[in-house]
């Protein structure tokens, strides 16, 4: 067996080609398209206006002008807005109270009540912070007008309005783009799913083609011959994925690319080792694929990018640690965002190497193969 037979597998099996050549870049582009807006714009808001007049009109105009918000409809009572909220037509309702204008004029700090749809947690948070910004701007202007009306001199008003300026910095993601934050984690999770499935298919392709040799060394060689070309393809796909991040998300690793290349390579090996283990344990294609689904389909939830790993319970933490993607993401964040020192980088790399430990045993336990 001079030439690796993984190339032949790619030529013969159209599903394998689809999974390893076409789907990885298409999936990354799909997620880039889903989150193309970066931060959601023009989220629909219902306004219940119990005090129609100049002041509330100015407020509604200010809300509508905010890039994150679009006033979907104005209501005169709460009931209609409530229906719109629970039908999902709007993501929040803002109630302008009776006597809003009068209380504003008298400096009695009228209270605007916002009800946000936190069932859609992310969207609810978005519209919430857009409301805080828009109402804050409106309030600053109203406050300045109020002080001027009270006869304060203009320079003093200008100082008082911004007495304490809060400056919020989103580290490592300056534009606070959700595309950048989500896609750089979802795409590796998807790449991992495609990799494990393609590897399982390739192992079955090899088993179907001819019986595996009996000796351990020969078996390992046969498996390498099948899986190495596929691994190389997926490593290049990983690079392409990072390149797409760089092109579309202005993602530039703050640390060295070398660590990411090494991390991708070790992740490929780790996932392939796990795929061989799965086939060794479940030599029936449907069972093996179901096991892949159970094992790696939820990888995104366990990698800690959304819900932090430090806040998971022990069982969830360990389950997450059993997935190569968790360690790869730890490395990717440490290298690309934090430009972390070596002391932070080596633990995930070693963890990825540990996935190779069961490989000799699982290669030995693979079924003999051959045509049925």
């Amino acid at each position: 067996m001079a030439l690796p037979d993984g190339g032949q597998a790619l030529r013969e099996d159209s599903w394998l080609r689809l999974l390893s050549l076409w789907l990885p870049p298409l999936a990354t582009l799909l997620f880039l398209a889903i989150f193309a807006q970066g931060a959601p714009r023009d989220l629909p808001l219902a306004v219940v206006n119990l005090d129609p007049g100049g002041a509330s009109r100015a407020l509604i105009r200010a809300l509508d002008a905010s890039p994150g918000l679009a006033v979907h409809r104005e209501y005169r009572s709460l009931a209609g807005a409530r229906v719109a909220l629970r039908r999902g037509e709007v993501l929040a309702t803002l109630v302008i109270p009776e006597d809003f204008a009068a209380h504003l004029r008298q400096g009695r700090s009228p209270r605007l009540a916002a009800f946000e749809n936190t069932q859609y947690l992310l969207a609810g948070k978005f519209i919430g912070s857009a409301l805080v910004d828009a109402v804050g701007d409106y309030g600053a202007r109203a406050g300045a007008a109020l002080r001027l009306a009270h006869g304060d001199p203009a320079p003093r008003v200008a100082l008082a309005v911004k007495a304490v300026r809060p400056q919020v910095v989103s580290l490592f993601n300056p534009a606070m783009s959700y595309a950048r934050f989500l896609v750089t984690a979802i795409a590796p999770a998807m790449w991992q799913v495609l990799l494990v499935v393609a590897t399982v298919l390739a192992v079955f392709w090899r088993l179907r083609r001819a019986p595996l040799p009996a000796g351990n060394g020969a078996r390992l060689k046969a498996m390498t011959s099948t899986l190495a070309p596929l691994g190389l393809v997926f490593w290049l796909q990983g690079l392409l994925m990072l390149a797409l991040f760089a092109v579309f998300l202005e993602w530039q690793p703050a640390g060295g690319w070398g660590w990411l290349l090494l991390g991708l390579a070790l992740t490929v090996l780790a996932v392939q080792a796990m795929a061989v283990l799965i086939v060794a344990l479940m030599p029936e294609p449907l069972h093996a694929l179901s096991a892949c689904a159970a094992y790696l389909a939820p990888a995104f939830a366990f990698m800690g990018i959304t819900f932090p790993r430090a806040d998971m319970n022990t069982l969830a933490w360990w389950w997450g640690a059993l997935m190569p993607s968790t360690h790869y993401m730890e490395l990717q964040v440490a290298v690309a965002d934090h430009a972390a020192p070596f002391a932070t980088l080596w633990p995930p790399l070693v963890a990825l190497l540990l996935f190779l430990a069961p490989l000799p045993l699982s290669v030995r336990a693979l079924p003999g193969g051959g045509a049925s």
């Binding site: 936190t118 069932q119 809060p166 580290l171 179907r208 030599p283 389909a297």
Partner: protein
């Protein structure tokens, strides 16, 4: 009648003798109900570690640090003098946030000079970032408002005017549903619908693909016009039980808010499962190998999650993707279940989702008829030798 009974018996036998299908139905459906909520069992992220860079060393700066420490969102793990050092803490993952109190903070605030409090959060992690910023902002804003109010009083400004001058309008925010802003309450109701959807696609799809293979081998079989409706009926019946288990027992166990009338919920589940079941049978006919349905489901799961509208607002999706997502029963399914059960909508308020699901039933039904007539049997990937 007895022909129908025999046919039905045959369909059941195919179902419970198929080890791959039983693995999905018994193992998968129960295991996933445990696995998918697992990362979020604490529901809300705990206190996140932050560092404070204090350049002021005044009483007010110390008070601010104490306030930050007292918020439920963050805890202070270090007080440093130098911002670069603080960034090292963040790079090493030892802290996720940073508060910089500028020099002369107290003096400037008392003199009414503008001063800047800087808050920074590690935006590599969205939940951590929003929690850190929320905690720091709350502490900073309340303290500076209090200080400004005290100053205004000392200056002898009219007491009744002070609230309006410091805060001309107040915004009080409340979650309309999921008031705790819990992750379990957010993820579980939507993802459980998706689990039912995906496992049904795998189970009914694989059974159909295998049935086609058997027919291709020339085995005697129940005529398709009986077999397909009976198979759909079987799966809808099994999955209605799963739906009761998920939406009844497990939602209660995970303490997910539930508002729907059980009968309305059951009716919605029946429509959703019929649409999904027809899609699954059509999928079983569309693939050219036995493992096809599992492969399709595995690859499509993540895209479906992010197109279904509960993570990323569907208003913000590109139009073409919104159309594509509407082909999948999970999209209207997730929305309809969330609105009915979690957001308390009345059944008649779900007209768009229900119409879409009916259209999907029709569409996938027609596709199934078409494919059942024309497709050739699929090939197995590999049949292990021990199992003939």
């Amino acid at each position: 009648m007895s022909r129908l009974a025999r046919a039905w018996g045959q369909e059941w036998r195919y179902l419970y003798r198929d080890s791959a299908v039983m693995m999905v139905l018994l193992g998968g459906v129960l295991f996933y109900a445990f696995l998918y909520p697992l990362p979020y069992r604490h529901n809300v992220p705990g206190e996140q570690p932050v560092v404070v860079v204090n350049r002021d060393h005044s009483a007010l700066a110390r008070e601010l640090t104490r306030r930050v420490e007292a918020t439920p969102e963050v805890r202070v793990v270090a007080r440093l003098d130098d911002e670069d050092q603080a960034r090292e803490w963040i790079a090493e993952g030892r802290a996720h946030g940073l508060l910089v109190i500028p020099a002369h903070f107290q003096r400037d605030l008392m003199l009414g000079r503008p001063t800047t409090l800087s808050y920074a959060g590690d935006a590599s992690y969205f939940l951590i970032y929003s929690r850190v910023v929320e905690g720091l902002l709350t502490a900073g804003t309340t303290l500076s408002l209090e200080t400004q109010a005290r100053r205004a009083l000392m200056q002898g400004r009219e007491m009744t005017r002070i609230p309006g001058e410091l805060q001309p309008v107040r915004l009080v925010r409340e979650g309309a549903f999921n008031p705790l802003e819990g992750y379990i309450d957010y993820v579980v109701p939507a993802v459980f619908v998706l689990i039912l959807h995906q496992t049904l696609l795998i189970a009914a799809g694989c059974l159909t693909a295998r049935d086609r293979w058997r027919r291709g081998q020339g085995e005697a079989a129940v005529p398709l016009r009986l077999a397909l409706p009976l198979r759909l009926l079987n799966f809808v019946a099994i999955y209605l039980l799963f739906a009761m288990l998920y939406f009844g027992v497990f939602f209660q166990y995970y303490q997910v808010p539930r508002h729907a009338d059980p009968i309305a919920l059951l009716a919605l589940a029946t429509l959703f499962l019929t649409a999904t079941g027809l899609c699954a049978l059509a999928l079983g006919y569309a693939v050219n190998r036995l493992e096809g349905p599992t492969l399709v489901v595995l690859v499509s799961s993540l895209p479906i999650v992010f197109c279904a509208g509960f993570v990323w607002p569907s208003q913000s999706l590109p139009t073409a993707l919104r159309w594509l997502a509407d082909l999948v029963p999970a999209t209207p399914g997730i929305q309809a279940f969330l609105k009915l059960n979690q957001m308390g909508a009345a059944p008649h308020e779900l007209a768009p989702e229900l119409t879409l699901m009916l259209a999907q039933c029709l569409g996938y039904g027609l596709l199934l008829l078409l494919l059942a007539r024309h497709r050739r049997p699929p090939q197995p990937l590999w049949v292990p030798p021990h199992r003939d």
